[in-house]
Symmetry: C2
Subunit: 178 residues, 2 copies
DNA sequence: ATTATCTTTTGACATTTGTAATAAAATAAA
DNA sequence: TTTATTTTATTACAAATGTCAAAAGATAAT
């Protein structure tokens, strides 16, 4: 069993979620400049995490059903972060705050281990992501991500996928046609 | 004190390093396809970590004095990795293997905490790196990295920095002139 | 110190991707 | 279901970055 599902099951069975948040289409769960040390579980719908650097918007992650989502930098260092988290359609998420989460993690050595492996997995994913973005040909970037995350291309509108893939929607459109 | 220096001090004082490796200029510490679960400490010199995707080489990290270096994917999942680690000049590194490292980490709860914060820091660094690479203007990419890591531009030849910055050496040369 | 090798710079040119405007299609709202 | 809104596709064009070749400069080896 993968560590994330394991973690979620444990949080569920101990009923640790603080509350549920319902977001309408395009609504923000978090905006730039705020501190957000919550951890979210997507129950339904989808959302994206993005940043704005010098007037350009970069989508860095998507979340859909059963994904754990956070403003990870803010979650880890408890400082304000530049991230925006936006619902792409009507979305429901469960919330747990960091304090409660930490005490849950520290309550058992299994839980500590699980959290460590989630972090390790995240590092591995980020390393893949680094290679995705470094790839210079837009077609190759598209292929790499399509192969690893085909579901993404169902759930998410092309303009956000284009942003995630470091290209314009026009370029993505041309790639899909060819 | 930062967690990495703390960790290094502890490994030093317990004399846990297995051995020292001396690399000549351009020599490889690791090549594609191999499993390498060692952790290295750079004592002197400099090196780079890179991958080759579809005939293009991408530099993803540099190491110099007092940096901890690993084929992180291989270190974490114990599988073969695509990474190359190459010395850019005569370089000395200390080595500790994962098994020994793990038992060191597990030998105290302080050590566990330190390793956790190193991983968390690494995640934060990777998130910065993601934004660096996503930035579409080569000049802005250059500025971001120059600001955060000015020493890099002393130690390392431009052609590798260019590769790290996702541009050709010609483009980097033009940016520096302007 | 001299020579050989590797790195950086420069310029002309080609190619790729972005921009902007519009039309078509799909999706959401009334 | 109809209308309004949003997303995708398409086109012509512009701009930016890469490619290639050559020269200059720097570094390493003898």
């Amino acid at each position: 069993m993968n560590p994330i599902s394991n973690l979620i099951d444990r949080i569920n069975s101990q009923k640790l979620w603080d509350r549920e948040i319902v977001l309408g289409r395009n609504e923000y769960l978090k905006v730039k400049g705020s501190i957000d040390t919550n951890l979210y579980l997507v129950k339904s719908g989808s959302l994206r995490i993005f940043v704005i650097d010098e007037y350009e918007e970069h989508t860095i992650r998507f979340g859909y059903k059963d994904n754990l989502i956070a403003s990870l930098d803010s979650f880890l260092n408890e400082k304000p972060s530049d991230f925006y988290i936006q619902a792409l359609k009507k979305t429901n998420v469960n919330v747990i705050n960091k304090k409660k989460y930490k005490s849950f993690i520290e309550s058992s050595s299994e839980n500590k281990e699980i959290w460590l492996s989630i972090l390790e997995n995240f590092v591995l994913q980020q390393m893949e992501r680094e290679r995705d973005i470094l790839t210079s040909s837009p077609i190759e970037r598209y292929k790499r991500v399509l192969e690893r995350s085909p579901q993404l291309f169902q759930e998410i509108p092309n303009k956000y996928i284009a942003s995630y893939l470091r290209m314009t929607p026009e370029t993505l459109s041309r790639i899909k046609k060819s």
